[in-house]
């Protein structure tokens, strides 16, 4: 069984520190089964506040699934999630936000998409206008604010999706390949928003296939293989000197089909 922790600034491949009191979010023995298959297997993680943790791995390794489990969108088959030291519940999700690979745009204007998030998160009415204007400016969407969100380009929609997540002022932001299939300019705009969120103190968990993006944004890296954590460490160390066979194979562009054990 692989156990890993991101509660560190040195390098580890197997270290159990999930109960660390400093962890903002932690998972203990997280498993998820579907269709008779174990898709997430005994994942132990601890996410320290203020860090940007990158999750990488081949397609089908369970990255997006892990993100959904950590965010509480899917109920794990077994294992426990802790939010600030307590079992994760629905209330905890009010302090979190997620951006999906394919942005889900409500059938409303750009501004109305942001207002909806503020409304459901219970932000007082008096605050909403200022936060809306601030976030629209931050995401450079001023000229689009009255347009239907669904007519925006892919890059603009993803910028709006990130803005809608940020307007909730989340303590932790989950990003599931937010720049997949975007051009460099759109990618840069999204990365600037993510950097801004970090500077505001948000903790980031980012799923990406882009090693360059991992280096630009990430502090820690979790490498998944076959639903298990194959390796963890600082982004630079894992990308430059991968220790696990799965990470070495993936980073080297080789196929590695046998699950690590």
């Amino acid at each position: 069984m692989f156990e890993a922790t991101i509660n560190m600034h040195d390098d580890h491949t197997a270290h159990n520190d999930v109960a660390a009191p400093t962890a903002l979010l932690s998972a203990q023995g997280l498993c998820f089964d579907a269709g008779g298959q174990r898709l997430i297997d005994a994942v132990d993680l601890g996410i320290s506040p203020g860090r940007c943790t990158v999750v990488m791995g081949a397609n089908g390794s369970g990255k997006s699934l892990l993100l959904r489990l950590l965010h509480g969108l899917i109920v794990p088959t077994s294992g426990t999630l802790f939010w600030r030291g307590r079992p994760l519940d629905r209330a905890a999700r009010q302090e979190q936000a997620m951006v999906f690979q394919r942005p889900v745009m409500l059938r409303r204007s750009v501004a109305a998409n942001l207002r909806f998030a503020l409304s459901v998160r219970g932000v007082p009415r008096a605050e909403r206008k200022a936060r809306e204007a601030e976030t629209i400016a931050l995401a450079r969407l001023e000229h689009l604010k009255d347009k239907p969100a669904r007519v925006l380009s892919g890059g603009e929609q993803q910028r709006l999706a990130v803005a809608r997540a940020l307007i909730c002022a989340p303590r932790i932001l989950f990003l599931d390949e937010p720049t997949a299939s975007l051009d460099p300019a759109s990618t840069l705009a999204i990365e600037q928003l993510i950097r801004g969120a970090r500077e505001s103190g948000a903790t980031i968990i980012l799923v990406t296939h882009d090693a360059g993006q991992a280096r630009r944004l990430g502090d820690d890296l979790v490498f998944l293989h076959g639903g298990r954590i194959a390796e963890t460490g600082s982004v630079g160390r894992v990308l430059d000197q991968p220790r696990s066979e799965a990470a070495q194979a993936w980073l080297g562009g080789r196929l590695f089909l046998t699950p690590t054990s």
Partner: protein, 235 residues
């Protein structure tokens, strides 16, 4: 018997002359139908949205029932409403039989399952798209229903117009509970049935032409709504 062209000319003359009897029948038809559709939407939209946006025990049974009720035979509805509102029925004391209100009740019962079943499908499709985002934002159940209804507004207008099309063309139920009383409960469809049987084909055809015109207008509105919604990528 007069030729078809002669009947058609007389029918058109009846329409363009704004015959007061014809106008009265049209106004009553629209009043009954629009009220019934509004009532059906008030019941059917939230009902369909709740079934579409939530999972609960026996949900599939509810969906089967809703879909089955879409095909309710109007005469059966008319008979049931008649039994309820007749002097010996449980609601006979209200004295509603042979009134426009009875016709509204019958049409509401006919149209509500159509509105609810179509709304359920529209909302379920939309919710499948929104589910993860809503879960991530922590949208509460009431907010979920309201947001889905709002975001599906163009599709729901189409649903309402489909209900209107069904109601305005209905004859079986309203003739049983309304009685087709002149100047009281006579609507376009019941008048067409009556006047055809009497051989007064001019009036029947005039009202038939008006019904067809209404159908054209409704379909034109549907196309316009779809076009507007498509331009804003709302469908």
């Amino acid at each position: 018997m007069e030729s078809f062209s002669a009947i058609l000319i007389e029918a058109v003359e009846l329409i363009v002359s704004w015959d007061p009897d014809v106008i009265e029948i049209i106004v009553l038809s629209l009043r009954v139908t629009l009220t019934a559709v509004a009532a059906a939407c008030l019941i059917g939209f939230p009902l369909g949205a709740i079934v579409g946006a939530f999972r609960f025990p026996m949900r599939n049974g509810v969906i089967v029932a809703m879909n089955t009720l879409m095909g309710l035979p109007p005469v059966v509805v008319g008979l049931l409403v008649y039994l309820m509102l007749s002097a010996s029925g449980p609601m006979g004391v209200l004295g509603l039989l042979y009134t426009p209100t009875a016709m509204i009740v019958a049409q509401t019962i006919l149209v509500t399952p159509i509105v609810a079943a179509l709304t359920r499908q529209v909302i379920e499709d939309l919710y499948n798209e929104y589910a993860e985002q809503f879960a991530s934002l922590g949208v509460r159940p009431l907010d979920r229903v309201l947001a889905l209804l709002w975001d599906a507004r163009y599709s729901l207008l189409t649903v309402a117009l489909a209900g209107f099309g069904r109601a305005v063309a209905e004859v079986g139920a309203v003739i049983i509970v309304g009685g087709n009383i002149n100047h009281v409960t006579r609507v376009m469809t019941t008048t067409i049935a009556l006047e055809t049987s009497k051989g007064n084909l001019q009036l029947a055809l005039a009202l038939g032409l008006i019904l067809l015109t209404i159908a054209v207008i409704v379909n034109g509105l549907l196309m316009a709504i779809r076009g507007t919604a498509a331009r804003a990528a709302y469908v």
